[in-house]
Subunit: 144 residues, 2 copies
DNA sequence: CTCAGGTAAGTTGTGCACAATTGAATTGTC
DNA sequence: GACAATTCAATTGTGCACAACTTACCTGAG
């Protein structure tokens, strides 16, 4: 197998592994909030600014309605979120936080620090990593 | 929402986005091989050294039998792989490459270069990124 | 006004991830 | 040699990702 690329040389595999390891670290914390990682991301966006349309959420997170529609339905079942059909444009659905959804924000505020502590990298290294990953993601999207 | 963490500050989200963007770049290439990204990873491991046990594959990739068993069944349906129950230890299943599976290696050899080209990062930056991600993944696993 | 084209959200189907469980085979201890 | 504990692979069930399609609604050219 002379020309087979080596697994441990692949940036792609390093990303895949690191991403899964990071969500694994978050999992027990998010379990206490009753959220999965993608649900947590949606809540983060809404905590920043709400209400938001499904399409808007999708643009922030890079997810489509095929992922978001059932996810939002589950958040609604948890009573963290409400979906309301827009009156002006009935194609649109606005996602609002409930009081419980707003209240969850303070319980979630400690989550990112936990990752930083577990990462074994300095704040400077983390900053640089985030910046490199941002450049990489943008370049990869441009190449599509 | 005063203490809500910002989405764009999260290393975790940067990893999640970059990882999905990278597999999105690979997708059209892997489509030509008839493989998904996780299936490609399994083939990479086998191209390096085969046969391998299911457990061994799982250790290399950080995946469990719940993920690998159905994935390997699909690779077997594609006639790229054969699973053989070990004679010495009948709990074990050895995963062998078929001739077609071996032959696919040369068609796959150009895939990683494509990512490097799309990444918009210098080879040095890619090396450093891979190294940082490796350190991060190891530290995160240790913290569990 | 009409209707072709486009847009928004939802649905369906496939394939991971991962927890929890099952069942068969092996190992260690007595 | 029996048998409790362990190991290995597979299965079940939930929840993403993402492609392809559907349905409802809006908009703009004619």
């Amino acid at each position: 197998m002379p020309d087979a690329p080596r697994l441990d040389r692949q940036v792609c595999f390093a990303l895949y592994s690191a991403s899964r390891a990071a969500t694994a670290v978050y999992r027990p914390l998010l379990d206490e909030l009753g959220l999965t990682y993608p649900q947590y991301l949606v809540m983060l966006v809404l905590w920043e600014n709400e209400p938001r349309g499904v399409r808007e959420l999708g643009e922030e997170l890079g997810l489509d309605s095929g992922t978001l529609s059932p996810l939002l339905k589950r958040l609604e079942a948890l009573a963290l979120v409400e979906r309301r059909r827009s009156a002006e444009d009935e194609r649109r659905v606005a996602v609002h936080l409930t009081d419980a959804g707003k209240a969850l924000s303070s319980k979630a505020s400690g989550v990112p620090q936990h990752l930083a502590a577990a990462a074994g990298l300095s704040p400077g290294e983390l900053d640089q990593l985030r910046e490199t990953l941002g450049k990489l993601t943008a370049a990869l999207h441009n190449s599509l």
